[in-house]
């Protein structure tokens, strides 16, 4: 058949079959047992021309309510942030996106150097000694941190704060089950990890303590206090951190974290209905040789020029096979590039300014909700999310908001039964004062 992705002509095919010494292509498949040979064609939709398919898929996309044409206050781990336009221009360069893992460093210096720069920026933001080249997402990165902790301490229990993203906790539980690691949830008090309960639960079989920073409710945990408790019990302290918040907040590395993980989606990566995002994994020099995934290191070539290579590969699955502690191979390299470009564009000043805008605008929203008679549930320090109590079900309010072109907040009652009729409102730098005012006014009306 003739197709724009298949360049062989009938004559090419004839010549090639003659070289091979067979009559037909079918002969090349004669090693497939007759009884299992698939005959005929797949029962899938017929091919469409480029323009017809584009038209169809545009119509399908248009069925969705997007965060571009609506005003979104939905966060809960994935945020509607400023995306510098150049990000997409860089990652659209096909020298990057049509390459694979940089196994041949002489022709992959671009990718390798970009990853080295990513590793540096993540290490800077988290205050950790080093970072890897990326993980699938924040959730699986947290799970891998738990596995590392269990392997390193030879202990079989993880203490996981209830204020960590519920879906992240679910992923940790799935990985932990595979490794026969017990997962114990540490309850919250007033929207933050309950320190007294943590002290009660921790013991000499605790491999690690996991918290989120800022946590799922937008509240900022007291990392120093939690880290001290973890270390006293000789467990590792694992922090899942929003790297944008670290533009302003004291980095986990300065507060005793042994491993800091999270998702760099906040840097230039679209919401994309769940992925691809960009997990990161940062840790101390002490744990360097136990890091999952790929690491890029600096070295020199035969002429003394600086260059970059994949390094410390003895940790990885393709060398260690069944002795490997992680099976990650493909990661999220292109998204790490996207995040690097966004972090570069924001730079030292922009990341602080953007983080600050998130805090300040969220404080404005908090005040506006309270002024309108709403109760804001947790009163501790917040980043860009607050919990607002409603009297009507959140799902009902959100159904009305979408009619006004507003994507409402996350319905906390769906995952925290005790927080029925509580909504998690995210306010990023992209939300204007007017949009916030309209949200508060509409929610007031629909909640009455």
């Amino acid at each position: 058949m003739v197709h724009r992705y298949l360049p062989m002509t009938e004559q090419d095919k004839k010549d090639m079959l003659a070289t091979i010494g067979v009559e037909s292509v079918d002969e090349l498949f004669s090693d497939i047992p007759e009884s299992v040979r698939f005959k005929g064609l797949y029962d899938i939709k017929a091919a469409k021309s480029e323009s017809a398919l584009l038209k169809e898929l545009k119509q399908l996309a248009a069925k969705n309510e997007d965060t571009d044409s609506n005003v979104s206050f939905l966060g809960a781990g994935i945020y509607n942030h400023y995306k510098p336009v150049i990000v997409d221009h860089v990652i659209s360069r096909s020298e990057f996106y049509t390459a694979y893992t940089p196994y041949q460093p002489e022709i992959s210096q671009g990718e390798l150097q970009a990853i080295f720069e990513f590793q540096t920026m993540i290490a800077e933001l988290t205050g950790m000694d080093l970072a890897n080249s990326s993980m699938y997402d924040g959730g699986t990165s947290l799970a891998e941190a738990g596995m590392l902790a269990a392997g390193h301490t030879r202990r079989k229990k993880l203490l996981v704060s209830e204020s960590i993203h519920p879906e992240y906790r679910d992923v940790v539980a799935t990985y932990a089950y595979g490794q026969s690691i017990e997962v114990v949830t540490v309850p919250t008090n007033n929207g933050v990890t309950d320190i007294d309960k943590l002290k009660e639960l921790i013991d000499d079989n605790t491999a690690g303590v996991m918290v989120q920073y800022p946590n799922f409710f937008g509240q900022i945990e007291d990392l120093q206090a939690i880290g001290d408790i973890a270390h006293e019990a000789k467990g590792l302290f694992i922090v899942s951190a929003n790297p944008l918040a670290l533009g302003i907040l004291t980095p986990p590395g300065k507060l005793g974290a042994d491993i800091t993980v999270g998702d760099a989606q906040v840097f230039g990566i679209p919401e994309s209905f769940g992925g691809p995002y960009c997990g990161y994994f940062a840790t101390t020099s002490k744990l360097m040789r136990k890091v999952p995934g790929r690491l890029v290191g600096e070295t020199v070539d035969q002429d003394g020029r600086r260059g970059y290579v994949l390094t410390l590969q003895a940790r990885e699955q393709h060398i260690r096979r069944e002795k490997a502690t992680s099976n990650i191979c493909s990661n999220q390299a292109l998204l790490a590039l996207a995040a690097s470009v966004a972090m570069t564009a924001l730079g030292k000043k922009g990341v602080q300014e953007m983080a600050k805008q998130n805090i300040v605008k969220t404080r404005y929203a908090k005040n506006a909700f309270e002024a309108a008679g709403f109760t804001v549930s947790f009163q501790g320090a917040h980043f860009n999310e607050i919990v607002v109590k409603t009297t009507k079900p959140v799902s009902e309010i959100n159904k009305q908001l979408i009619q006004d072109g507003i994507i409402g907040g996350f319905d906390l009652g769906t995952v925290y039964p005790e927080l029925e009729n509580h909504v998690l409102i995210a306010v990023t730098e992209l939300r204007t004062r007017e949009e916030i005012d309209v949200l508060v006014e509409k929610m007031g009306a629909y909640n009455a």
Binding site: Y5, L17, L41, I44, Q104, Q224, L346, K361
Partner: protein, 489 residues
């Protein structure tokens, strides 16, 4: 050739430059010390670069020029299926209705996205011959682990939690045994025979009542079809184990044989390989898993279903599910690209893909056979493995041949893999390359074979034309420098 070092972005930084444009702050300003307790505010700023927009664009353009992609030239990296990445896929994935939707939006507002995922699931059920597919796993290795966790849950649900061994052929990709370990299994290696296929006698020897599963790549990493597949499935099923299909090499068998018809109980696919989601410099991937009916109850949560009224819904009510393997619903953007590709090719197109992939590989194998050793001489599927042992005797290693290929503008094949071939070179041309491209690469390989005999130093000292020469990997590993540190002064 450049002689100076390529600058790092940090070295271009100059205090006072900006590359961003944030919205105006239109709410009252607060002092951070009023909003955050003492000790919560960072004392030292993160040292991110301070550069203007053109600096950024030039920097990354310079880096891109130091990188080889499929669009730059031929990339016959075995087992990675480096085929053309269609541009329409990129446009579709960037449509606002796909790129700018939040995973936690009300289902009623994302029915278009859910419909696309459902259609993709349905297509992959047909392509694999399985009963159900989950699109959640983020990459191939993640899919392997997901499927093994389901097999574990299946055995436990049947009161057979003692089944703790996963059998993996010696030619398997490293992720197979690593995934087994992460899923809590012990790996048993089964040998290959002199034909490069799994040794059935050895397989019979290693199976037992503790066998949980056999993981099999078919065609295997030598590019050979495991023609005893039905006997193998029978041996495993006979002792109560499950048969797992590593779909890394599906490009070789589409429309020719389906895992579901070959006795496999589950399969993972690499949508970034066979289905053209671009490789992205090492990711993102997408590693859907297909299963037969008896594994369906164990699928990760949530499961995307079509309801009676024709709408789409994420079903969380799955009491036997292994749980979540990833937040949200998988690498949606890659799934959009794969779906676009399947719709671009259609049933005839996917069949032609496999036929040309296999034709191309066999053609290259026959043309190169006189110049390099071919340890397993039979029809190959989408790829084949040459051995450089003849050249090694002349002092030229496979690594040298790979480096010499760089001088011709090619990405080399996968080298030193699979482990059961001495000085292996695994070549996968894919179906999207023209005969002219294949011939030019073959000519380069022949020239290198001749150079090895006549002037080996030109091969041993390669590459000669790249922006950098061979790098000191030992130094990188002995004294790791994993981040930039500003030199003061």
């Amino acid at each position: 050739m450049h002689n100076e070092n390529q600058s790092l972005i940090f070295e271009l930084s100059k205090e006072g430059r900006v590359g961003y444009s944030l919205p105006e702050l239109d709410v009252p300003e607060f002092d951070l010390t009023d909003l955050l307790p003492e000790g919560f505010v960072r004392e030292e700023a993160a040292e991110l670069p301070e550069v203007a927009e053109l600096d950024i664009m030039r920097h990354y353009t310079a880096l891109s020029r130091r990188n080889h992609g499929v669009d730059s030239g031929f990339y016959p990296l075995g087992s990675c299926t480096m085929k053309y990445n269609p541009k329409i896929n990129e446009n579709v994935a960037r449509l606002s209705g796909f790129a700018n939707i939040h995973p936690l939006q009300d289902e009623a507002t994302v029915q278009g996205a859910m419909e696309l995922l459902y259609e993709l699931q349905t297509s992959l059920v047909e392509i694999t011959g399985m009963d159900e597919v989950t699109l959640q796993p983020a990459a191939g290795a993640h899919g392997e682990w997901t499927a093994l966790m389901m097999i574990r849950a299946f055995h436990e649900a049947n009161g057979e939690g003692h089944r703790n061994k996963v059998i993996v052929p010696d030619s398997a990709h490293g992720t197979n045994p690593a995934s087994a370990t992460v899923a809590g299994f012990e790996t048993i290696t089964v040998k290959s025979n002199e034909d490069g296929l799994v040794d059935l006698d050895d397989l019979r020897r290693v199976v037992g009542e503790d066998t949980a599963a056999l993981m099999l790549t078919n065609p295997n990493t030598l590019g050979l079809f495991e023609e005893n597949i039905l006997e193998m499935a029978e041996i495993i099923h006979g002792v109560g184990g499950k048969v797992y299909y590593d779909g890394a090499n599906l490009n070789a068998v589409m429309s020719k044989a389906r895992p579901g018809d070959m006795g496999f109980d589950c399969v993972h696919l690499n949508l970034h390989k066979t289905f053209t989601g671009p490789h992205g410099g090492g990711g993102p991937g997408s590693g859907p898993v297909g299963v037969k009916a008896d594994l369906i109850p164990f699928l990760p949560k949530p499961v995307l279903v079509k309801t009676d009224d024709g709408s789409f819904h994420f079903d969380y009510n799955r009491p036997q599910s292994i749980g979540r393997v990833k937040p949200y619903y998988g690498n949606f953007g890659i799934n959009v690209r794969a779906y676009t590709y399947i719709r671009t090719m259609g049933p005839d197109g996917l069949k032609a893909v496999t036929e040309y992939a296999v034709l191309n590989a066999n053609y290259m194998m026959r043309r190169l056979e006189p110049y390099f050793d071919l340890p397993y001489n039979r029809y190959c599927k989408h790829e084949f493995v040459l051995s450089g042992r003849r050249q090694k005797k002349l002092g030229v290693r496979t690594l040298d041949i790979a480096k010499r290929l760089l001088d011709f503008g090619y990405h080399p094949p996968t080298i030193y893999f699979p482990l059961n071939v001495e000085e292996g070179m695994m070549i996968e041309p894919t179906e999207t390359e023209s005969k002219e491209t294949l011939d030019a690469f073959i000519d380069a390989m022949i020239q290198i074979a001749n150079e090895t005999e006549e002037n080996p130093s030109i091969v041993q000292e390669a590459p000669h034309t790249t922006v950098i020469s061979r790098l000191d990997e030992t130094r990188a590993a002995r004294t790791p420098v994993l981040r930039y540190t500003k030199v003061e002064g």
